[in-house]
Symmetry: C2
Subunit: 349 residues, 2 copies
């Protein structure tokens, strides 16, 4: 397994690059914009393919690298379903999994620092690891005084979820300011000074009286991190987009091939548009190349390829790639299946 902890000394942020093998798929957790070139260099050097970039929550102290990584690698951007970030291409919730080749992370909803704070749990032969974002820090916890933070929720996330993990679970936070790189659940249970409280009320009191100044970057970082979505407008301007209503009107006609780019788990959870084909986004490149199934389908049948996904982000990237690969009919449903459902489009499970 490849496991790299990378540090941004300006914001004190830890970023994690993970892959099951050299030459395979990789994911990155909590990337920092200023460090994107270093991440991409490492991805190239280790012969990896970055397929997912995950933020544990909407950060207030640095600008996320999610947008830049997506622009440069076409990776899937992942955040929790509560996030205020405008459009990420995959939203996850408690009980979901974030999977890449050879490994997957269990998704734990751990609000409190923000209302979109998630933790991610990884198993594997090198020991269980949990990425705790700003929820549980090494000998600390993330502040709860802005961005819908809530000390009561955080107490619950920490005491009733994270501290229930086995003691030997390694804890990898999104930040450290004192020079620690890793801890364990057992250690935090016993030695984290913030967790030496007798009740949730005592914790709420403690957190409500920290009197911390706002993060230096907050006024810049939060708005920047909210707007990381792709410019689906640009795709529309080029005539490659259908609104959900337009798509509904075309639906059932012979000359349309609807192609779902989402993963199996997303399809099972959120349903699919009846009659649509399934061609997962990570396989896109081979599917749209000459000789690929979508390329052949478009040529052989003359059907218009209409991509869709969860929110229109992956499908917008797919349209651009398909057009470049010579599939001139390619377009997508703007806003994805979320918009489709809002327009009362039918969905099957």
């Amino acid at each position: 397994m490849i496991f790299r902890q990378l540090f941004d000394s300006v914001s004190g942020t830890y970023t994690y690059l993970i892959a099951s093998r050299q030459g395979g798929e990789a994911l990155i957790i909590d990337p920092v914009l200023e460090k994107v070139e270093r991440y991409l260099q490492l991805v190239r050097e280790l012969d990896l393919r970055l397929v997912k970039a995950v933020d544990t929550h909407l950060h207030a102290d640095h600008i996320t690298g999610l947008g830049a990584l997506r622009d440069q690698t076409h990776c899937i951007t992942v955040m929790g379903e509560q996030t205020a970030a405008d459009v990420v291409s995959m939203r996850v919730a408690e009980g979901d999994r974030v999977s890449i080749e050879g490994l997957s992370l269990d998704v734990l909803y751990t609000p409190g620092h923000t209302d979109d704070s998630y933790s991610f749990l990884m198993g594997g032969d090198m020991g269980r690891r949990v990425f705790t974002g700003d929820t549980l820090l090494i000998r600390g916890t993330g502040r709860t005084d802005f961005q819908n933070g809530d000390p009561r929720q955080q107490y619950d996330s920490i005491f009733n979820k994270l501290l229930k993990l086995p003691d030997e679970t390694l804890v990898y936070p999104a930040h450290d300011y004192k020079g620690d790189t890793v801890s364990t659940i057992g250690e935090e249970k016993h030695f984290n000074p913030r967790l030496r409280v007798k009740s949730v009320d005592e914790y709420v009191d403690l957190m409500n009286n920290l009197k911390l100044p706002n993060p230096k970057m907050m006024d810049v970082a939060v708005p920047a991190n909210v707007h990381i979505g792709l410019h689906q407008d640009e795709i529309a301007r080029r005539g490659w987009a259908l609104s959900a209503k337009e798509a509904l009107a075309l639906c059932g006609r012979a000359k349309i091939a609807l192609v779902d780019l989402r993963e199996k788990a997303e399809r099972e959870k959120h349903g699919v548009i009846p009659g649509s084909l399934h061609a997962p986004y990570p396989d896109l490149e081979q599917n749209i190349a000459t000789g690929g199934v979508l390329h052949e389908l478009a040529e052989a049948t003359g059907k218009r390829i209409v991509f869709y996904c969860a929110y229109g982000e992956r499908s917008a990237m797919a349209v651009e790639a398909a057009q470049q690969a010579g599939i001139a009919s390619a377009c997508h449903i703007e806003g994805g299946i979320a918009a489709w459902k809002k327009a009362d489009g039918p969905v099957t499970h």
Copy 2:
């Protein structure tokens, strides 16, 4: 296994705390003075016993934590035999091992950054790791322009020793300034820009033309790091020391029990004083306590306990501890077996 990488952001130094199990013996590599309290806190929290503190070389950019850790834990301080540091309690050379309960590090002499630069290689079920000090950095190498640095030697250390390790060996350096925490030998072989040279002469040219300013801390750190020895004078002032000559004169008399505190490997390599007993330093506490073998020996025989070790450092600590434990006769040979040999004392192998 417990493996902790700790960071000092002021000097960009990585320190490593290692133990085979919670509750067992630990060693630390390249500790920084300002961080000693954090290390000791972690040692307590993990229920460890710090028995060895190792510096990969005499540092010029921070003050070592070796002296403070020895003062507070009575651990053995370890450096290479070439070091200018006045007195460390154990000096190692190529081919030696630094051992604690459950694990041991192979000692590799890798001069070039300084003439006392060593690397330490660790095996184990979690993969092979090499601690490279300032010899091999992540995508860099340590400067060679002071403290008897020598680019030609460094080329040899890197190309003919470190890069001969298996590609998957994890590389843990003493410093990083760009946010990396770990690399591999394979990666450095392929992607370290300093190592893209065709010959040793090209490397020498490269290193001789870096034109780096001296480290900010150099004028403070080097003298401080040279003088980390215990005050053996103080032990002498209290009447608890014998010079090697005085010890020689007493030798063979019935009322003396010479006690060698060194490890088995040191005894085999450097020889022992004929007729001396062996009671390794890590077991000292139990041996000198009431009921312990040395305590009983002193009481039952009335013999004077004369400790010795390599350079008099461990034995000075032992004298102090033995006096506190009520062994009023305890003293030591100042300067250890090194001084004994200089005084032409007999040694057997």
